[in-house]
Symmetry: C2
Subunit: 344 residues, 2 copies
């Protein structure tokens, strides 16, 4: 298995990406292709004392880098010689089995669609991170790729998310919940009501396990395995989730650091604290797949440290081995609507 890595993407690149790749080679036994400024990458490999692992690592030079402030379309225009663009073209040409990047999400989306292409029949690719929940994790789809959606996009996201949750999260019949402002079928915008009907039809045909509308408050308790929404709402949900989590964690820390007695209290609950922290830890989860692209692309968190980056590589390996893309491709006929709004 060969993983193509955009070595220059992310807050701590190329150090974290290179160290993460070394960990992945050692622990997962993969081959890695690091794309980016060769000198910088080789310096990081040396600093990381890659040793034998270096034999499984190939470096491909690319002069340009895409920053967080670059526009999404830069990847196909003024920065088409960037590490990201070069890495995506390699994936498109079959010079690797999957790709991982910590870089600019917008550019990764645009570049994946342009250089790797969508699965035939899939209207839009979606970014689908796994949210930590009480039941282990739930896939949030879409989470920022598509600010405005049609019912057909959401129907496709439901199928793609279900295949992913089944094969990667271990949910036998993934529960698909439509994120809405109430449980009743009549809730939400006209777009959501139309989506509700399409999902209900798919459920009646036995193709999706649609459990109806869900609300934000149900998410942390693991009410659904696939949380379906447009990319704008998904982005708000994800960031609120992160923000409230960070805020609570910070307040808890302050509470335990107040004095000697409270520090003792922290010791008394340290097992529980550790278990809870692990449950809620994004670094364990890895990254977010770009579902709908014809080859496996994983977006790792921008602030990934080497361990988190390695987790994203592991996720890419599992995704490449899972057969999810074939399942989406085989079922695309069920996910496309004819021009008059009727299903094919």
């Amino acid at each position: 298995m060969k993983i193509i890595i955009d070595a220059m993407g992310g807050d701590n690149a190329p150090q974290s990406t290179v160290e993460g790749a070394v960990l992945a080679v050692r622990e997962l036994g993969v081959q890695a292709t690091l794309v980016g400024r060769e000198q910088e990458i080789r310096a990081c490999l040396e600093a990381a004392q890659a040793g034998d692992a270096a034999n499984s690592i190939q470096v491909v030079h690319a002069e340009q880098t895409i920053d967080m402030c670059d526009s999404a379309t830069s990847v196909t225009k003024e920065k088409k010689d960037s590490s990201l663009a070069a890495a995506l073209r390699m994936l498109g040409a079959g010079e690797g089995d999957a790709l991982v990047s910590s870089g600019n999400t917008g550019a990764l989306l645009v570049g994946s669609t342009m250089y790797v292409k969508r699965i035939r029949g899939v209207r839009r690719a979606a970014l689908a991170p796994v949210l930590p929940t009480d039941k282990g994790g739930a896939l949030l789809i879409d989470c920022g790729a598509n600010v405005e959606c049609t019912p057909e996009y959401l129907l496709q996201f439901a199928y793609m998310g279900s295949f992913y949750a089944q094969k990667q999260l271990g949910a036998a019949k993934p529960k698909v919940g439509l994120l809405n402002n109430g449980a009743e079928a009549s809730k939400g915008t006209p777009m959501l009501r139309e989506t509700y009907e399409l999902l209900q039809e798919a459920a009646q045909a036995g193709r999706l396990n649609f459990i109806g509308n869900i609300e934000g408050r149900d998410v942390p308790f693991g009410a659904a395995d696939v949380i379906l929404c447009d990319g704008f709402v998904g982005n708000v949900l994800l960031k609120t989730y992160e923000g409230v989590g960070m805020y609570f964690a910070g307040e808890m820390k302050k509470m335990f650091m107040r004095n000697l007695g409270t520090k003792m209290a922290a010791l008394l609950v340290k097992d529980g604290l550790r278990a809870f922290k692990k449950k809620m830890d994004y670094k364990e989860v890895g990254g977010a797949p770009l579902l709908g692209i014809s080859k496996p692309v994983i977006k790792a968190h921008g602030s990934s440290d080497p361990r988190a980056f390695k987790s994203a590589v592991r996720q890419a390996v599992q995704y490449a081995e899972s057969g999810i893309i074939a399942s989406i491709s085989d079922n695309v006929g069920h996910m496309t609507l004819a021009a008059d709004g009727e299903k094919n």
Copy 2:
């Protein structure tokens, strides 16, 4: 000050509403008019041992009640003789200074617009709960009244929210943040980009303290005093906020209840736990104003206990005394766009 109370609205009505009214009469020195089934209300007054407080409480009979499953429009149609409809008509006719209901939010919105009317020039009323944050609280507007919004609605919500945050939350120059999927002005839907421009114009004219786009993760840290969004997104944010908070609180409780040692730990941090719980407690906050209605209407939480309901009554009193409605009315010229999209 006379407060009109929909005695039959909410999960624990009429017991909680009646007991809450008794507390309000005693502690805040208000007059209360309880609207609903007279016999049931009088039985609750007796059970609550209202005593002298009963002298400040008037009971007005209404036979029908609106439940959570009734449609929003029932208040003007098949249930126009409900406690909510009767209470709203009394407020509209000037038979009280403000109204509080724990009942069906949709019906309260429709009924307020129909029976009490909006402030002249205000296009839509908005529901604006106060979210607990690290800085005390932030007004979330809109939070469910308007699933689809125009830039003009949001501009009006920004003004209304600012007046409320200034006079009720004590923010001298309330920071208005537009909830978006990124900080840059180019983020979000076309509707949000247009809203951004209108807010920037208002800020340049010195009328609003617009701080730009904010993200969900900024909210708990108190980045803004007024969080501006459409009612759908606001509803998702509020419920996610509540859900993650509830989940964390539950996990913390489990962690402390595990064994004797962890129970001792809970004792050692009990002051910190109590302070944090108080900070995050919705019951202290009261309810959500319906901004844009020509008289003060407060939506109390559906599950309000007597203490929470009393807090909502206190909020109604303060709202009625604040001059916020006059400020909105005086400034409505700045908040309305001409038909061609230019400001008046």
